[in-house]
Subunit: 331 residues, 2 copies
């Protein structure tokens, strides 16, 4: 491997000069600069990022830590982060916490050990609560998808309560009354959407039936099982809302298993406008989140914070869109 010393010798200058040229620092004679660059190219020299990192405490790696790598929401976000990071000369490290605080902590610590430049994080409930106690949190960080109320940190998210309220109200206004809710368990997102759901019911003078409200881990199988329970009740719901697309698949599978028609026998609505939601017959009414924009904005916020750690914190709230389709036609 060719190192800076080799370049310096070949060019007949000191390593300091080579370093200056490569960093585009001033105080280098243009002719020398040119010559060094030529030698760099000839020798095919590439600076060792590890050494640069150790010496100057800078890194070109940012990390994206998500709670569920298989959720289409995060997949779309990570595409956006990857695009934006690449444009800005960074590469991204993707980590998955499975909504598991221990895994999250170990992951964050590892990232700090690696001295990454910053982190985009969808935190667990626990991380939000213990934020200040987590040593890893001295890294530049931006939080996505969730947020702590008064945390001194950049965050970007949607108004989950409002979005859930909107889509639930839509169901109610189309005549549905016994609405079942299947929410992601032990995630902030899930509980906020649950809150919006309950509020919408109350705002329409419907008493939330606790037996119609379920929490499940955000996986297809759990969505399926939970829904089967719901559908096997003596007085089954006339509509179901889920808080994410993984659960949605499970719900749909269960509805089919019970040979129920949508929306004739039961209406359905969900979060996240996936291809599947569009392709399904009837197409699914959903809350569409600006996923790509969330990822891009998060990356840009993070890079800005890396460049200026003292800048004031921002909380960006992005608008969602209710996309009305056939899956909850009038009752």
């Amino acid at each position: 491997m060719v190192k800076i010393k080799d370049v310096a010798e070949a060019a007949g200058v000191s390593t300091a000069t080579v370093s200056r040229v490569l960093a585009n620092k001033p105080h280098v004679r243009p002719e020398i600069q040119k010559h060094v660059l030529k030698v760099v190219k000839e020798l095919n020299y590439r600076p060792n990022r590890v050494a640069q990192n150790l010496r100057s405490n800078t890194s070109k790696i940012i990390a994206l830590v998500v709670s569920d790598i298989e959720n289409p929401f995060f997949q779309r976000v990570s595409r956006a982060v990857d695009d934006a990071a690449y444009e800005l000369g960074y590469i991204v490290m993707l980590c998955n916490t499975d909504e598991n605080p221990a895994k999250e902590e170990s992951c964050l610590n590892l990232l700090r050990d690696e001295n990454v430049a910053g982190v985009i994080l969808s935190p667990t409930q626990r991380a939000i609560e213990k934020f200040s106690e987590m040593p890893a949190m001295d890294m530049p960080t931006v939080i996505i998808d969730r947020h702590g109320k008064n945390l001194a940190i950049d965050s970007i998210h949607i108004d989950n309560v409002q979005a859930a309220h909107a889509i639930t109200s839509h169901l109610i206004e189309h005549g549905y009354r016994r609405i079942g809710g299947v929410f992601g368990g032990n995630s902030i997102t899930g509980s906020q959407r649950h809150e919006g759901f309950v509020r919408a019911l109350k705002d329409h003078n419907i008493k939330p039936a606790t037996d119609l409200i379920k929490f499940a881990s955000p996986r297809e199988e759990d969505g399926f099982d939970t829904t089967m329970n719901l559908l096997n009740m003596q007085d089954r719901p006339d509509a179901i809302l889920t808080s994410n697309s993984l659960l949605a698949s499970g719900v749909l599978l269960a509805i089919r298993e019970c040979k129920l028609q949508i929306p004739g026998d039961i209406a359905f609505a969900s979060f996240d406008d996936t291809t599947c939601a569009q392709l399904f017959e009837p197409a699914i009414t959903v809350i569409d989140q600006p996923t790509y924009e969330i990822g891009r904005t998060a990356t840009e916020l993070l890079i800005k914070r890396i460049q200026d750690p003292t800048r004031s914190n921002r909380e960006v709230v992005l608008k969602t869109k209710l996309i009305v389709r056939k899956s909850c036609g009038c009752k």
Copy 2:
């Protein structure tokens, strides 16, 4: 930040001893070992991975470089890689090449600059061809999804030709004769599946109609556009096969746009058993790849190679499964 020197001083030993203890090296008195460990814990010391990397040339980061981060196939693979890596104490860096050789090269170079421990790569055609000339390829590498014939490298993939042959034959045996093919353009995978498709036709004495064979970039919109062309022909196909799930969505959208029934008006089959393929009515006949296993195996192969760079290369070929569903019922 507490460093090894702090630990050494607090424990009344040298940094060398602390290092030995932490690396579980022999020749340390048990009592000293115990004491050092205690101090490490008290001080909450964590070794700086960057310094370790620089000094000893070892890293705990492996990279996963995929051609399309939005393809469910790679998403499932990356979940598997992430799981396996985590278990083995590594973290993974995810990069996306968009099937773009320039982006791929720049990404690989960056990874080498960062001195990552190894790479799992779904290479572009060009990378396979120019393999030996790519400086980045001195990293431990395992290739997934694609493979070069006589490359001295670990690889893991399925038999694309055989799989495409099988699913095409299935269509033919169900009476379809004018079968359209929509394949991923400029990817090895796409062309191999195309090859299997053509072979199956020939083996059944059907002359491949060039106007029924299309290549598209693996995105929903391109699948849609391409299929619209196919469906607007005077003598449209009676069945369509696509080589990946992103294209499949586009095809399905186009078929709906033309108000055609599956399989009544037109049959459909594809690669990759996604949730969507199961949920769609009628459910889609697909070739199911062992995606999770591909990711796990790749990770395990990579770590083994990292630990022993001299070990002989392996080419692992995994079996696929034809899952027959309603989308190509008898004509």
